[in-house]
Subunit: 354 residues, 5 copies
Amino acid sequence: MARFFRKRDKNRGMPPGSLIFIGSRKVEEIIVTIFNYDNEKVTIFPLDDIREAAPYRTSPEITWINVDGIHDPDVIKNLGETFDLHPLLLEDILNTGQRPKLDDFDSCLTIITKMLQWDEGSRKIISEQVSIILGDTWVITLQEQPGDVFDTVRERINKAKGRVRNCGADYLAYALLDTIVDNYIYIVERIGEKVEDLEVLILNNGGGHIPTAINALKQEIHFLRKSIRPVQEAILKLTKLETPLIEETTRPFLKDLQDHITHACEAVDTYSDLLSDHFNTYNSLINNRMNDIMRVLTVIATIFIPITFLAGIYGMNFDYMPELRWKFAYFIVWGLFLLVIGGMLSYFKKKKWL
Amino acid sequence: MARFFRKRDKNRGMPPGSLIFIGSRKVEEIIVTIFNYDNEKVTIFPLDDIREAAPYRTSPEITWINVDGIHDPDVIKNLGETFDLHPLLLEDILNTGQRPKLDDFDSCLTIITKMLQWDEGSRKIISEQVSIILGDTWVITLQEQPGDVFDTVRERINKAKGRVRNCGADYLAYALLDTIVDNYIYIVERIGEKVEDLEVLILNNGGGHIPTAINALKQEIHFLRKSIRPVQEAILKLTKLETPLIEETTRPFLKDLQDHITHACEAVDTYSDLLSDHFNTYNSLINNRMNDIMRVLTVIATIFIPITFLAGIYGMNFDYMPELRWKFAYFIVWGLFLLVIGGMLSYFKKKKWL
Amino acid sequence: MARFFRKRDKNRGMPPGSLIFIGSRKVEEIIVTIFNYDNEKVTIFPLDDIREAAPYRTSPEITWINVDGIHDPDVIKNLGETFDLHPLLLEDILNTGQRPKLDDFDSCLTIITKMLQWDEGSRKIISEQVSIILGDTWVITLQEQPGDVFDTVRERINKAKGRVRNCGADYLAYALLDTIVDNYIYIVERIGEKVEDLEVLILNNGGGHIPTAINALKQEIHFLRKSIRPVQEAILKLTKLETPLIEETTRPFLKDLQDHITHACEAVDTYSDLLSDHFNTYNSLINNRMNDIMRVLTVIATIFIPITFLAGIYGMNFDYMPELRWKFAYFIVWGLFLLVIGGMLSYFKKKKWL
Amino acid sequence: MARFFRKRDKNRGMPPGSLIFIGSRKVEEIIVTIFNYDNEKVTIFPLDDIREAAPYRTSPEITWINVDGIHDPDVIKNLGETFDLHPLLLEDILNTGQRPKLDDFDSCLTIITKMLQWDEGSRKIISEQVSIILGDTWVITLQEQPGDVFDTVRERINKAKGRVRNCGADYLAYALLDTIVDNYIYIVERIGEKVEDLEVLILNNGGGHIPTAINALKQEIHFLRKSIRPVQEAILKLTKLETPLIEETTRPFLKDLQDHITHACEAVDTYSDLLSDHFNTYNSLINNRMNDIMRVLTVIATIFIPITFLAGIYGMNFDYMPELRWKFAYFIVWGLFLLVIGGMLSYFKKKKWL
Amino acid sequence: MARFFRKRDKNRGMPPGSLIFIGSRKVEEIIVTIFNYDNEKVTIFPLDDIREAAPYRTSPEITWINVDGIHDPDVIKNLGETFDLHPLLLEDILNTGQRPKLDDFDSCLTIITKMLQWDEGSRKIISEQVSIILGDTWVITLQEQPGDVFDTVRERINKAKGRVRNCGADYLAYALLDTIVDNYIYIVERIGEKVEDLEVLILNNGGGHIPTAINALKQEIHFLRKSIRPVQEAILKLTKLETPLIEETTRPFLKDLQDHITHACEAVDTYSDLLSDHFNTYNSLINNRMNDIMRVLTVIATIFIPITFLAGIYGMNFDYMPELRWKFAYFIVWGLFLLVIGGMLSYFKKKKWL
């Protein structure tokens, strides 16, 4: 549950804008990589010191600065000074428990999002914070650890696939966001499969651990929703934002992006509803089965308890029990037995318990 | 459940606007048919190559280009080039898992909708994507497979029934949408009948498979809602859209269309609520029956268990049991039996268990 | 359930604006009556042919044309031609499954509503479609069958009661709507009484048919809500509509009407909530009673089962059972019986089961 | 439940604006009292005929006309004529089932509210309609019966406490409303205590009448909500209303009033939620207890039923049963008994039933 | 539950703006402390009489007046006169049951909030009212008791940490609010841990007190939500407020504050949902266990009851029972026993009860 709310003890009472890393360090060293390109050429190289990126702030080509690892406040501080970023933005980047959001600081736009992964081992969603900062000719991305998430975009830039090489920094930022949202859809599909598996289990009376399994899956869906809902909000805000940083030709792509994330959010809600329905079905089936069990018990018990009593009577040892001496008494008693059994059975038949 | 979310693995990480067919191929060959008409004459003929449709883009008559089968990205690409369509639109057409929506690309309007069918065999709703593109004098429709859905519109054009021959392309697009929405209403009626059948079953104690049946029907309703809600949104947006492509005289028809789809959506919600009510009723009836069963068991058991014990006492073989020698002991015991039975019965009567 | 959604098979695929009657014919012949009045005199007479009403379209007096029976599309078509009504409006009038709504066709306003009746026999709400068309000096009303619904308005016109004779056609339309809404309030009261009856039944443990009765009443409430909610929407729209057809002096009356229908809608929601609460109470009481039953069974069974076993031991016929020969064995066993009974009773007392 | 919806049979079909009293008459005679004051002096006197109040309509001092008892339509009619009130307003005043609301008739503002009281006997909320009409220098209040509700305001006017004597009629109207809303808060506190009492009862297993008690309290909360929600709406509308009748200096007081009623409404919602939670807790505790009961029954029954069978075997009277003759058979059987008991107990221990 | 609604009997019927303390007095004496600072120096000193603070109202440095203890209406009245505060504001400050809110009195802004603390002993949230009044160069804070809540801000002012010494009174007010909201996040984390603990308990079948524990935690969540939701509203209103009291440079900080409180509110909702899910899971597990118990009882009872009857038959003492004399009767009966046992077991296996 700690996943739902990153502990923030460290910066409680600190002045706002204090640069303190909140989260768990995932890499040894921070790696900064520069992609500098226009429609003719691409240059890719690592940077030792983020401050060396300063010239790219004003260069005419598009520059993508990717930072893997955000645990070192000094590096982030240098980045902030080099690109003139607001201290609150830097604080948000360092706080991996930050709620996804869009901020518009005139000179740049920032989107803080979550990259999700499905961990097959623990059957849980793993979340990593990804911040995207869009300037006029540059984009900065910050991740907690190096990953292959943006590899498809890298390849497109390298091989000049699609339109990325012919468009501005805003299209690059869009392409990165699009990759993240495509990944959400993949995760939602995984959740959908788990819901489907549970349904099969339930309909086959899959045992007593089902409530626990449903509960665990509900928690994943809560977590998923909590992660992507604010991203949807941020993207909606982005498509409506009036800013010179986004060109008119990029807007249809942003609308498309909005459709995708809406689709993902609706699917999450649908799966959540389906899961609730499955849970209700499960409970109802359990009740049905209890009913069956009780019915069998009741039929057997109500037939045999009275006749066992009858048998008990003639097992008594009183000196004077006239029936015991009658010749056909035993057979008469058998008749009584059969009468009681027959009567009970027909009563149960009338009640539709058989 | 895969129905709730079409897998999109194929285009994960592809550049936006990549033309990749997502879905299952339903026809062998793509068939393109041209309806060219004005209020005087109609010409109908198939096209071998979609590019031959180019002249109709500017011809003064109304032209309806119907494409059955969308699995071949090349055909769609040619279509896009011929009619100057946005690549994102083409991508949406090819993705059969696309969420229904309206897009306004100045030169044309596009509505992506779902055509629904009720499969009696599997008792499930089958969904097929239908895209409608409206230009100034032309309408393009794209379906996954040839079907009789639009036949009534074809007939009206052929026989000059209704006003379709006297109106523009916008009326044709409306007429096609109207056919699709009429079909939704038909499907909602089918769902309504299933809900009604289930109610009858529940009130007649129709057995233990009811929770499963309710669950299945709830899934169909979820699917139906997920299919037509976004269409409602799109139509609402359409009626409010300020565009020269839609003439003033067509607007009342669009408002009427909006009423129909609102009607359909509200009916889906009503059936969903009714189904939930039925489910609650079912569970309550099951509980009632359990109550009945337990009451019978308790009455029988609590009457006979104590007197069986009494009989058991006098079945003991102790050498010295004075009662066994009494002359009327046996009859006294019978008196005890009757006393216990009578007491229990009157207790149960007081408790209203009988 | 067919009540929730009128079947529309007949006009599936027909061109929009096709005049086809959807519903069940309720009268033999269509009766058209004219009320022509100003503040001085009233003329009332039947019409054989609706086309004879043409002069009243422009006459200075107020004219109310009442049509009982709408099953004949020809009559409706003639009406449409005489008063220049839009074909979609005529289609809506003929479709008795139409969702209530307000339409503003510059030259006239139309409100399609439902007249409700409580059928004591089937304990169900019966719905009849009533369409009201307001022109500048005329009002047309169309009902499925002649009824006494508008009689109070007729009387007020005849006897010049209230202000109807001194006001325009808009006040007449308001007065008719007001009668319909007053009737809703009457129906809501009936529903309220049923809810109250059910509550009494539940608190008196009124038997196993209660879930079924609650379900039936919930359906009535669903139906009621589905009928009057859209009327509320239409009336709200009417009060806000800027149209020369409604005079300023009539507006306070429309606001009052809106208060009434809001009141009715809120009462429906309240009754729906109360019914759900009663249902939960019922289920909880059933569970309580099951608890009682089980407790009695458990107390009796757990006391007598062990001592019956004890008695059973000394009923065994082994040759060598030393206790059987002891003189006071029988009394010792009785002591054991009482010990077990006493122990059990004090255990149950501690558990608060007694 | 009649409380939720005052019967209106009497004015069904009457022309709108008909003056008919709906409700139950609560006083013998209508008492009209005049408070005429400015910041220097106060005059208080009763009126025999409401028409004598006419001069106060235009007098420069502030005049408060209090009417106790509204069952006589003639008095209300005279009031209406004297102060030139709209007939629909008079109709609303007479209908004690009227939904609380604010109406702005240019020359006066009217607020219809409910005065609530907690009846300790029936443990129910009693509601009385209070109408407040605000003119430029006068305020008219109408209640169903004389009560001490406004006594604190009367005292403040008499003793010149607070600012009431220095402010206009709008402040007087505010002060009266404030008294009513303060009373709501008192009622909400009473409800809160009942909820608290129920919680204690539930946690102490307070018996089978709890569902009924919860249901009754839920109905009170429904009734309370239904009474004060529309008042909240009306007050919100009042604070936003642009009218010369309300001075700028009174507006902060209206905002404060709005805070109070919002507070009351939120508290009602909170208590409603708490009550639902308590109900769920109760049901869960009942289930737990059922579980306990069943566990005890099952443990006792499953231990003794098999060994009673064993004892039964050796109680059979077959001539040839070798074991009966064995010397140690009886003790072996006892061993068997202990074995079964031990085995069962360890099984139950493993299952954690003991 | 008294926590949900502070009793207000004391000021029922008092004129609005009456200064009456509502709550429980928490300190002996009211302590007033002055912080007077600019970016060069800081002066800190206590005040004996609040009226001595008058000069600081217009001094150019920033002045923070902190009041610990609000039980004395006279002190508050003096404060009001010195700083020209509205009487309604003073009334709100004294009413510790006041709903959090923002008020804009042109010359000053006031925010009434709640400071929350987690009491480990009672496992309950303790709430204290904190009022913040922002003027142009001064901020007044009022608390119920002296606490260390604002200590971090005091330290920042003293040591010139962060930007507080270089900014205006608006930044100081922001910093204080930020401290309060940070504290909410801490409390939400505590609640989250309790929810997590309960989940572990539930999955380990943690006993019958779980419904009670869930209920208690739900109440805490209700209380938490009730405390911070209105603060969220107030902060949202604050960020949108157009007032000269807040400088442009402070606005990004307010937006950041809004993000934090939104985050806290969403987390509360998430925990509330998780708790409901856990509750459902618990109930379902309880039902499962009941099912298990009943199944064991039924299996044992239905196997042994019939054969105990069989044994009972041959325990009867009739003179003429032919089977008793047969040589192998005893073994035949044993065969019967085994037959019944085997048949029952295979039936249960088929039913999957074993």
